[in-house]
């Protein structure tokens, strides 16, 4: 059993990875630990060494971490591994017939980088609002520059509006609140986080905003931004306005794959990969936020998804490396429970499995300082969500992965109404 990279000859161009995020990093680390000794090149648009994105909406905004790139490893680490980093260079086009990547540099030049195998790991970028934005005061958070710019403005004491009550929006709101600021969160859906964790848990965790002094407005879309030079507020679809001199937009991400438009690769919600993360050809693979693939949970039908979670992106990076070194048969299909965490308002949320439905509560402190919820998938445990309870999370996550029957969980189910009677009902 061999993969594309084990059949190369001396002088072959080797592996080229496009994108220097966690998916790209895990790819290059894993081809090396799997014994591949040929050439490895990473083409990465950002000037920084690979760095950790999740702290940007959390510890970097609150000031717990300096607003510099939280890099994983220094330059010598990559040199020791024999990895060529082409930082600050943007892939423009992929010619899959000639097996060449066209790369543009900041100076406007273009170079061609040949490859034997290529991994597309260009991630995603924040979606913007569909209305015109004043030039100042409207932010997104994806890069360390975004976070540093936002942090600097938060320190001037603005009135903050966050558009989108997803995980990133909630984390930014929490960080801004921790700095003592006045914060309003606007969410167009009826419940926050409903698509991610189902309506019942979305409502419950959405209650964290109010408990911490942040206004949450649900069911209202943003139709415009006030202000000419600098943002002055939001116009909502019911005609009301929200005053704000700083707006953070957290309304999801779009996969960075436009540069592949004329490549002939299958594109459907990112690069549409198969279950081995191959993009229509054995030497072109994809990993991370830029790709969709048919995921499968134990004993269930596959469904096409794009993860947008840090752990999945890294694990996909490892997997493509294994497919490239050991071959698809040996590596097997990529299956993932989409583990994620979020830090907000001083609590740690952890989730895994199928969560896009209502859940059964197994444990809840009325102030949400502890929560355990189980998600049912037909006759089995399909997923788990916890707040501040890592041990129970690990236990239930393992049970879900093993396809444990729901009957093992059901006896512990409690009624939401019962428990909340002592606390608030959000």
């Amino acid at each position: 059993m061999t993969g594309v990279l084990t059949t190369l000859r001396a002088g072959d161009p080797g592996l080229v990875v496009v994108g220097g995020g966690i998916a790209g990093l895990r790819t290059v680390q894993t081809v090396r630990s799997a014994g591949y000794t040929g050439r490895v090149t990473v083409v990465a648009a950002e000037r920084h060494l690979p760095y950790d994105r999740p702290p940007l909406s959390k510890q970097v905004l609150t000031g717990e971490l300096a607003p510099e790139a939280p890099v994983y490893h220094g330059a010598e680490y990559f040199a020791d591994l024999g990895i060529d980093l082409m930082l600050g260079q943007q892939a423009r086009r992929l010619d899959v017939e000639r097996r060449v990547l066209h790369v543009g540099d900041a100076g406007g030049g273009e170079l061609t980088v040949p490859y034997s195998a290529v991994v597309i790991a260009t991630g995603a970028r924040p979606r913007r609002l569909p209305c015109a934005e004043p030039p100042e005061g409207v932010h997104v958070v994806r890069t360390v520059e975004d976070a540093a710019g936002l942090r600097a403005e938060l320190l001037t004491g603005p009135q903050v509006a966050v558009v989108g009550a997803g995980f990133i929006g909630a984390e930014v709101a929490s960080s801004a609140r921790a700095l003592g600021l006045d914060v309003t969160v606007i969410e167009s859906a009826a419940s926050p986080l409903a698509r991610a964790i189902g309506q019942s848990m979305g409502d419950l965790l959405g209650g964290l905003h109010a408990r911490n002094g942040v206004r949450l407005v649900c069911g209202r879309g943003v139709t415009g931004l006030h202000g000419t030079d600098r943002v002055e507020g939001l116009l909502l679809d019911d005609g009301t306005s929200v005053a704000a001199d700083l707006v953070v937009v957290g309304v999801g991400v779009v996969p960075d794959v436009e540069w592949l438009a004329d490549s002939g690769l299958p594109l459907d919600d990112g690069v549409a990969c198969d279950e081995y993360l191959r993009a229509g050809r054995s030497e072109v693979l994809g990993a991370g936020d830029a790709v969709s693939w048919p995921n499968r949970s134990p004993g269930r039908d596959a469904y096409r998804t794009r993860s947008q979670q840090w752990t999945t992106a890294g694990d996909q990076g490892r997997h493509v490396a294994e497919v490239l070194v050991y071959g698809a048969d040996a590596a097997g299909p990529f299956e993932h429970d989409l583990y994620f965490w979020s830090d907000q308002y001083g609590v740690k949320i952890q989730g895994a499995g199928l969560l896009n439905r209502d859940a059964a509560l197994l444990e809840l402190r009325p102030d949400r300082s502890r929560l355990v919820a189980a998600y049912r998938d037909a006759d089995r445990l399909g997923g788990v969500l916890t707040v501040n309870h890592p041990k129970e999370f690990r236990r239930l996550r393992a049970l879900a992965a093993a396809g444990a029957p729901w009957s093992q969980i059901a006896p512990r189910e409690m009624s939401l109404a019962d428990d909340l009677s002592g606390g608030d009902a959000a």
């Binding site: 895990r26 680390q29 630990s33 950790d52 999740p54 702290p55 959390k58 510890q59 717990e64 971490l65 939280p70 994983y72 490893h73 680490y77 020791d80 840090w310 752990t311 890294g314 965490w341 830090d343 609590v347 740690k348 952890q350 300082s369 502890r370 501040n388 890592p390 999370f393 690990r394």
Partner: protein
């Protein structure tokens, strides 16, 4: 300040996802190994308790355990 026993720091490497956040928050206590998982440094014992607690709380997989005088520190 009164003298106290050092806090015992344990890290479950099978759960560690290699984010390196512990090392960013508490560089005297943790380091990201070349294999991509974190290790506990000898100087963890002399690291400030609050810094250790912050690192443990912020760990994405909550795989750091702190023990003070024989009992586990409750992080939450």
């Amino acid at each position: 300040m009164s003298h106290t026993l050092p806090i015992e720091v344990q890290l479950d490497q099978t759960e560690c996802c290699g984010s390196g956040l512990c090392a960013s928050i508490a560089p005297t206590a943790f380091r990201l190994d070349t294999s991509g998982v974190a290790v506990v440094l000898d100087t963890a014992a002399t690291t400030d308790r609050d810094v250790l607690v912050r690192a443990a709380k912020n760990c994405p997989t909550l795989c750091i355990t702190l023990t003070d005088n024989g009992s586990e520190i409750d992080l939450f």
